[in-house]
């Protein structure tokens, strides 16, 4: 049975972002974001009966979040597959709401990894088959994919740099973005090499931040103050955990998650007005544009060139500035949803894509491991 239009996102918010200082905990940021998202939705904390979270800090994430917030859910889902988890939570929340297992779902995340000394707090367990070679998790894993993509398809560092520059141009239009100064292709090429061929400006930010989203049934959503943003379709797929087990380093499981989402939604990538892709590294945007069907495999590099995904370009990609320039607090997936909802409500300010009615949200987790695609739409898309 299809979940198309059965549930809607009715509230979204971030916590304070960027560098919050040593005092605040990840749970404090979750608390802030939750208060703001419930306020955005016009709902009370007591309305929440479904709780969704994942964390590198809290092993039993929904238990810690529920305790802190004082929420005692009747449905709880701590699906943990990296940064994509929160797009998965949206999918699972819609299913739970449709099944009557809960009515108002809260998805929440927070991280203080920048104030925590810039160390990437990650759930990367050590593999005896990889650890002896000292790859730098996760950048080296993405670098291995980048090297292969360049070898097979002639993708260049300049093309990857175009992704970072486009993200920065969008970020300049977003007052909440962390990195808003000028950035050129040359700046990216000249920046410090971390794990070749990826340099530091090919990598996402390391920031603090939290976010929350409130999801409820389509019926209840229509009674609330703001225009509902419906989940039209979703799909997930994963094929590996460790990069050495990824079948083909140039093709992700998004080639399965996306068709599943499109089929449920009854749309194709051509119907998408705004596109939010999990850009932990510049190669992500290139490979996801291919795997989600916006161009042929191997053509992602040329697709992103010439400002095509910048403001005013052919395709509006990562309008917040993305993980590369807006915010990336360890796991970024929930912030993809926040931006998609804002665009579909017309709340994008200077970066608003005029007339945006449909949004593609694509989450990635692990090392190109978990792929979760969601299609969102306004009332007009029914």
């Amino acid at each position: 049975m299809s979940l198309r239009g059965k549930a809607a996102v009715v509230g979204v918010a971030e916590s304070v972002l960027g560098e919050v200082g040593p005092g605040l905990t990840p749970l404090d940021l979750i608390g802030q974001a939750t208060v703001r998202a419930l306020d955005d939705a016009g709902l009370e904390k007591g309305d929440v009966d479904g709780l969704f979270s994942s964390s590198a800090y809290y092993h039993m994430a929904t238990l810690s979040v529920g305790e802190y917030l004082g929420i005692q859910p009747r449905y709880s889902d701590a699906t943990s597959m990296g940064g994509s988890s929160f797009v998965s939570h949206l999918f699972h929340a819609a299913a739970a709401i449709d099944a009557g297992l809960c009515e108002v779902a809260l998805i929440a995340y927070g991280s203080t990894q920048r104030s925590g000394g810039g160390r990437l707090v990650s759930a990367s367990e050590s593999s005896p088959y990889e650890a002896p070679y000292r790859p730098r998790y996760p950048v080296s894993m993405y670098a291995l994919a980048t090297s292969r993509h360049m070898y097979e398809y002639g993708t260049t560092r300049e093309q990857l740099a175009e992704v970072a520059v486009a993200a920065r141009e969008w970020a300049k239009l977003n007052p909440k973005a962390f990195a808003r100064d000028d950035l050129t292709v040359e700046d990216v090429l000249d920046s410090r090499m971390v794990s070749s061929p990826l340099s530091v400006l090919d990598c996402c930010l390391v920031t603090d931040g939290g976010a929350a989203a409130v999801v409820t049934s389509a019926e209840r959503a229509r009674e609330l103050g703001k225009p509902p943003v419906y989940l039209l379709g979703a799909g997930e797929a994963h094929w590996h955990r460790n990069i050495s087990e990824m079948p083909d380093l140039t093709t992700t499981a998004a080639t399965e998650s996306a068709p599943r989402a499109y089929e449920m939604a009854g749309v194709s990538q051509r119907d998408m007005d705004v596109v939010m892709l999990y850009d932990a590294f510049t190669i992500n945007t290139v490979m996801f544009l291919e795997d989600l069907g916006f161009c042929q495999k191997g053509e992602g590099g040329s697709f992103v060139s010439g400002g095509r995904i910048s403001p005013g370009g052919e395709l509006a990609v990562n309008t917040s500035g993305g993980g590369l320039s807006y915010n990336h607090p360890g796991m970024y997936g929930l912030m993809l949803i926040v931006e998609a909802v804002r665009q579909l409500r017309g709340e994008g300010g200077k970066r608003q894509v005029e007339g945006a009615e449909t949004a593609l949200v694509h989450g990635n987790g692990g090392v190109f491991s978990s792929q979760v695609t969601a299609v969102l739409g306004t009332e007009a898309t029914f």
Binding site: Y129, E130, P135, S140
Partner: protein
């Protein structure tokens, strides 16, 4: 390609063979595919009929990266496709990190590091 006949926990067996200078992998008698890393079932067909075999140690670099640190020379990490049809993470020794190339033929050697055996590769003579 020699067949090895011993029983034990998969990772322990791999490490034990490596300690003897052998690069071991599993061969699935159900579907005929090479299985790596070692497991108790074949991830392709689900069969539990896995035989240990010794790799020839010859392969080619599938992809590679050079990792930069402030305090030392870069080191490389590579994924190597062995001729028997399995892939593993390793490094290529005896070459500057940035010069490890995709497609480069390499051959296995066992090393000991911090008391543990480690599989590494060296460029083959051309």
């Amino acid at each position: 390609m020699k067949e090895l006949r011993e029983e034990g926990a998969p990772t322990e067996m791999y490490t034990r063979y490596l300690g003897e200078g052998k690069l071991a992998f599993q061969h699935c008698t159900g579907c005929g595919r090479a299985v790596f890393y070692p497991r108790v079932l074949c991830p392709y067909c689900g069969s539990t009929s896995l035989e240990w075999r010794e790799s020839s140690g010859h392969g080619a670099v599938y992809t590679a990266t050079a990792i930069y640190r402030r305090d030392r020379e870069p080191h490389n990490v590579a994924l190597v496709d062995l001729d028997e049809g399995f892939r593993m993470m390793s490094r290529v020794e005896g070459i500057v990190a940035e010069e490890v190339e995709i497609g480069m033929r390499v051959s296995f050697e066992a090393r000991e590091e911090e008391g543990e055996p480690v599989a590494v590769f060296l460029p083959e003579e051309v």
